[in-house]
């Protein structure tokens, strides 16, 4: 039942074919990067940047 994957996958042996999840992992990250930024973050920076009297 196991797929015929006998690639020795120890300690970073580079594989030509990345497992499917590797793209899923990048997508997970990239999807968040591409999300519209909630205004609270810009607001926070502006607040931090406001001149203190």
């Amino acid at each position: 039942m196991a797929p015929k994957d006998k690639t020795p996958d120890k300690s970073g042996t580079p594989r030509k074919k990345q497992p499917d999840w590797a793209r899923g992992l990048r997508d997970l990250y990239d999807d968040v990067v591409d999300e519209p930024l909630p205004p609270s973050f810009k607001d926070l920076l502006d607040k931090l940047d406001a001149p203190k009297k």
Binding site: P19, G24, L25, R26, D30, V32, F41, L44, L48
Partner: protein, 200 residues
């Protein structure tokens, strides 16, 4: 010690703003929950702002802020532990929520599998496999040797290969006191290895 110019300060703010989406992505990968992740990013932004004189212009703002975010994450996790408030229920919900269901967490199998990894392996894989950092950069961010990062990434990959290829995602690993303790102990190890202290 020269005072930073107004231009430096403006550039800092611009660069900091530009990395916010990356901080959100890293934070969400670390803690799994969008709301907690965004709180963490806000915390990291405030710390980065307070420490801005220590940022060397021309170096990577993303790497610099990731160190700060990572430290904030570890501190929060440990603080919760000391208060005895580590939320098993949240952890268990993350791990048991069926993928694709109408669930506020909305986690893919991929993400759930990621969250079952020990924190040090999870962050190593996030940095290299998702964030696109080199092993060298990831080692600097985590304050450890390059070989350590390579080994963590290798183990994380092997674990995900096994979980995602065999459909063997642990459903209740945090339900087990032993696993829970192991995770907290790993957090201590990770925190002890910090190459950068928060400075305050």
């Amino acid at each position: 010690m020269s005072k930073r110019s107004a231009e430096d300060a403006a550039a800092f703010k611009r660069e900091l703003e530009a990395v916010i989406p990356h901080l959100r992505a890293f934070a969400r990968g670390l803690c799994g929950r969008p709301d907690m992740a965004d709180d963490l990013v806000q915390e990291a932004l405030m710390k980065a702002w307070a420490a801005q004189e220590r940022f060397e212009p021309g170096t990577s703002m993303r790497a610099w802020t990731f160190v700060i975010l990572r430290n904030a994450y570890l501190t929060d996790m440990r603080r919760n532990r000391f208060r005895g408030e580590y939320d098993d229920n949240v952890a268990e919900r993350i791990l048991t929520a069926p993928a694709g269901q109408e669930d506020p967490l909305h986690l893919s199998d991929m993400h759930r599998a990621l969250l079952t990894l020990p924190p040090e392996r999870r962050e190593a894989l996030l940095l290299v496999g998702a964030g696109g950092f080199s092993y060298e950069e990831a080692a600097e961010i985590c304050g450890c040797a390059i070989g350590t990062i390579k080994s963590r990434v290798g183990r994380a990959r092997a674990a995900l290969n096994s979980m995602l290829a065999d459909g063997d995602i642990p459903k209740r690993s945090l339900d087990d006191a032993g696993a829970h303790r192991a995770i907290l102990e790993e957090l201590d190890d990770v925190a002890a290895g910090d190459g950068v202290t928060g400075g305050n």
